[in-house]
Structure formats: C-alpha cells, structure tokens
C-alpha cells in the first residue's frame, strides 16, 4: 500500500519535472495506473520510458507496496498533440 503522494515523489525525484496523475485501480492502493507527462522522456522509446518509471519505483515494487502498475508515459508535446 502506498499513497499517491509517495508514488508521485518517487517519480519526480527520479525524472525531475513531471506531471504525474495516479489512479487506484482496485481500491486497495497497490494496483495503480500512472500517467506521467515529462520531457525526461524526450528521445526515448516506450520500452525505455517504462524502464525509467520502473527504476524510479524500484523499492516499492520490490517490497510489495506496489503490486501492479500500468504506465502511460508521454512528453509535453505528445500530451498536447493528443
């Protein structure tokens, strides 16, 4: 179990400036959908973007605070372009 704030802090500490929105998928605060808009993703393919997010959340993923994670990772330009 993990709060939205905790999760967001992990991500912004790793990526720098990022707009993070978190959804609790199951009401148990351990299955999340995370949408991240950050220019840290510029020039990276989707696989690498997801690896960056997994890296940022390495400890809560390993100790079980996060059980499942769905990720959407976009740059600012991509988010505006729809």
């Amino acid at each position: 179990m993990m709060t939205f704030e905790d999760l967001t802090t992990h991500i912004t500490q790793a990526l720098g400036e990022a707009e993070v929105s978190v959804m609790d998928r199951t009401g148990t605060m351990d299955h999340f959908t995370v949408k991240i808009i950050s220019d840290a993703f510029q020039g990276k393919n989707l696989l690498d973007r997801h690896r960056m997010v997994y890296q940022a959340l390495d400890s809560p993923l390993k100790d079980g605070r996060i059980h499942a994670l769905e990720i959407q990772a976009k740059t600012k330009d991509e988010a505006q372009g729809g």
Binding site: L46, L47, H50, R51, Y54, L61, A68, L69, I71, Q72
Partner: protein
C-alpha cells in the same frame, strides 16, 4: 560460460513467433495482465505460446535481467522483446502490430 536458464529462454524465444511469459496457463491464467495480453493477441488470430513462470522463480529472475524489465507478463514477437500491453496497446493504435505480426509469420503459409 553459458547459463542453462538463459539458454532455455533463448531457445523458447526462437521457437515461438509470439511468446508470452506470464502467470498461469492459457486455461487457468492467474493474473489480470496475463489475461489482458492473451485477449490482445486473440484479436489477431495468430498462434501464441504462454509460458507460466510462476513455478520457476529463477527463470523469472533471469528473464527480468535479460530484458531489464521487472514485471510480468513479458512479450516477445519474432525474437524481439516488446514489454507488455502498455507498449503493445499504443503500437496497435498506430497500426504497427498487424504488419509486425504479418512479417513475423511471413515464412509460414496461412
């Protein structure tokens, strides 16, 4: 020095055009994401293999290391790692999946 688990994985990846490493079996999947991945490929009608790695933590660990990807399921198409449906979904939206699968199965009559 070769690692027997890695060799086994490489062999499986080479053997199956579409390979999902997941949790559970086709008839008894044990994870929502594994089900989601099976449903994703069911739409396209090409055969895929699902290998259950739950009973084999060493293999699960070796796979994570080889792909630098911590979670299951893990999808390989034509020997190439494609992550999971978070990656495949956006690729499908861009119309990239159909040609990729067509290419992967191009050497087989269908």
């Amino acid at each position: 020095m070769s690692n027997p688990i890695e060799d086994e994985i490489k062999k499986e990846i080479a053997q199956h055009k579409i390979l999902i490493y997941g949790k559970g079996t086709k008839t008894a999947p044990q994870c929502g994401f594994t089900v989601e991945t099976m449903e994703f490929f069911n739409k396209f009608g090409y055969p895929y293999e699902l290998i259950n790695v739950l009973p084999n933590p060493e293999k699960r660990e070796a796979l994570s290391k080889m792909t630098n990807w911590p979670t299951l399921p893990k999808v390989f198409i034509n020997g190439q790692f494609y992550g999971d449906t978070d990656i495949l979904g956006p690729m499908e939206e861009k119309g990239e999946i159909q040609p990729l699968l067509k290419e992967a199965f191009s050497d087989q009559a269908n």
